[in-house]
């Protein structure tokens, strides 16, 4: 794996290389070089299996971290490629031409995080949520509790308690133990 990283360093601006386990490495690459790096890995380093593509909301840095996980069956190594993209204008080049299933991942990311992949097939069609009218729900600033309180109404006749004070009063009826 070290030789592969060395070869990558000669051609691409990669940083934060982290060998998490013997068979798992992560690295960060600049957004504009990401598709070239992934294509190089697929075609020249036999990372032929695209395991998944997902995003992490780094709201404190105002960024999304996309993670492309690739696998090499010849040396049984996983390689996670992190790509940081701006959270306000979340857009990334599509890789649907490299793997057929990439389009599905990109469609889900568009729906759940609001990251756009221009040109990806059916990327604007809803994948799981139909008729969603709020901010993309997997973003950190989407508050599930607030949404459900606003959208659904509580059924009458149901009592609700604050769990902490309720359990305290049940466990220690005479006051604090």
């Amino acid at each position: 794996m070290k030789e592969i990283i060395q070869r990558l360093k000669q051609q691409f601006a990669i940083s934060n290389v982290n060998q998490q386990r013997g068979d798992l490495t992560f690295l960060t690459v600049k957004q504009e070089q990401a598709v070239a790096l992934i294509t190089y890995l697929r075609d020249f380093e036999i990372f032929t299996h695209m395991v998944f593509l997902t995003a992490v909301d780094r709201i404190e840095d105002n960024q999304f971290q996309l993670t492309y996980m690739l696998h090499n069956y010849a040396i049984h190594q996983d390689l996670g490629i992190r790509v940081m993209t701006d959270r306000e204008k979340a857009e990334m080049a599509s890789i649907h031409h490299l793997w057929k299933q990439a389009g599905t991942y990109q469609r889900e990311l568009k729906e759940m995080f609001g990251i756009d992949f221009p040109g990806s097939p059916r990327v604007d069609e809803s994948f799981i949520l139909e008729g969603w009218d709020n901010i993309p729900p997997m973003r950190r600033d989407f508050d599930t509790k607030k949404y459900s309180e606003e959208t659904y109404f509580p059924r009458p006749g149901r009592e609700s308690h604050d769990p902490e004070t309720y359990m305290k009063s049940k466990l220690y009826p005479e006051g604090d133990a």
């Binding site: 386990r21 993670t67 049984h76 996983d78 057929k100 389009g103 599905t104």
Partner: protein
């Protein structure tokens, strides 16, 4: 050379059929969401020409419960009862992978005996899931009784899970730090009885399903997946093995105690629905054999859990990892990101059905006879909940 008359079928341009629904030649048909072809709920929007499928779109979202979002708002220990619900017929893979990811990021080593018990649990769950699948697969081809036999035997396995963990479907047996219980008294004997019953059942299934002429006529040659498609679509597990590739996470990246067990990767060559059945059928015998091997290493007197810090205030250092295991459908994985707080920052669940039931099925189903759609779906062995975690 014989060339069938396909003038009545739509013209194909760049691999896509040109379909004008208003022409009256085609029929749009929804298969699902309640359908015997799949365990769980998903639906196919089919366009039919005659009795042949010419276009398909997979629709999911009927089961979305937002597990990944839920996990971001719960402490590490509060998540272990949630993860098993991501895959109903085979929950233990989720339990193990969640625990393994947490342990890796927290730097915890678990006792050897806990690893053996986890391996046992994983193989028992593979066998149980295969029993559910073979019932569904037989049902999709009109062999109803096999489904009933297989589900009965799955229930015998669930009895054992109930003894072990208290739960039949969701076991919550594997927890971060180890496992919850040692095996109950006399478990080995009852497990052996059940394994023998399942072996007898498999012998009967061979006679009535594998050697059934009608079944073979329908399954042989159905849904052929070429070598080139395997990586192009990210295909894993028995489907890749039925195409002749030696790919099994248990061998390629051994986890738990699999490297101490004696087994071979089971392969096929023809890569059609029948070959995939054969591969999974042989993997059921493999699971039975592995369970017997594992039972020789179980010792009730040894430690099964590591001491954890106070789990209600458990902070895990910032980091990220990806762990994977071989489920009955292939590579199943958990990608976890932590930020040093008491809650996981992100947990992503990679289920094999995500690619098999969407990108692959949509392309594979074209030109398949309508009556074989359910059989094709079950031959891909998809569990929709893992598509829409």
């Amino acid at each position: 050379m014989f060339a069938p008359d396909r003038s009545k079928y739509p013209e194909v341009v760049n691999g896509k059929a040109i379909i004008d629904l208003d022409s009256g030649k085609y029929l749009k048909l929804w298969q699902g969401p309640q359908h015997p072809g799949v365990t769980g709920n998903m639906s196919l929007e089919l366009i039919i020409c005659g009795d042949e499928v010419v276009d398909c779109k997979t629709h999911v979202g009927y089961l979305h419960r937002g597990f990944e979002k839920l996990m971001e708002r719960r402490k590490f220990i509060q998540n272990f009862p949630i993860v098993c619900r991501i895959c109903v017929p085979e929950p233990d893979t989720n339990e193990y992978l969640y625990a393994a990811a947490v342990e890796e990021l927290a730097g915890i080593e678990i006792p050897e005996q806990a690893k053996w018990l986890r391996t046992l649990n994983m193989e028992m769950s593979r066998l149980t899931s295969f029993l559910m699948w073979i019932g569904g697969h037989a049902g999709a081809f009109g062999l109803g009784p096999i489904g009933q036999w297989a589900v009965t035997h799955r229930d015998y396995m669930l009895d054992l899970f109930e003894e072990l963990s208290g739960g039949r479907i969701y076991h919550m047996y594997i927890i971060p730090g180890g496992v919850r219980n040692i095996l109950p008294d006399g478990f080995n004997g009852r497990l052996e009885d059940t394994l023998q019953k399942i072996e007898k059942l498999l012998g009967e299934i061979e006679k009535v399903m594998l050697n059934n002429a009608v079944f073979k006529m329908r399954a042989v040659g159905l849904g052929i997946i070429t070598h080139g498609m395997i990586d192009q679509y990210g295909i894993v597990g028995p489907i890749a093995r039925a195409a002749g590739l030696k790919r099994d996470v248990r061998k390629d990246s051994p986890y738990l105690m699999y490297e101490h067990l004696d087994f071979d990767v089971i392969n096929g060559t023809k890569s059609d629905a029948y070959e995939r059945l054969l591969v999974r059928y042989r993997e059921m015998f493999q699971s039975i054999d592995l369970i017997r091997q594992i039972m020789k290493h179980i010792d009730g007197s040894r430690d099964i859990h590591t001491k954890l810090p106070n789990v209600l205030h458990w902070k895990i250092p910032a980091g990220e990892t990806y762990v994977k295991a071989e489920s009955t459908r292939g590579e199943y994985g958990y990608f976890m990101v932590t930020d040093g707080s008491e809650l996981p920052r992100r947990v992503y669940v990679r289920g094999p059905s995500y690619t098999h039931a969407v990108a692959l099925l949509e392309d594979l189903i074209v030109n398949v006879n309508m009556a074989d759609v359910a059989g094709l779906m079950t031959s891909l062995h998809t569990y929709p909940p893992e598509i829409e975690r």
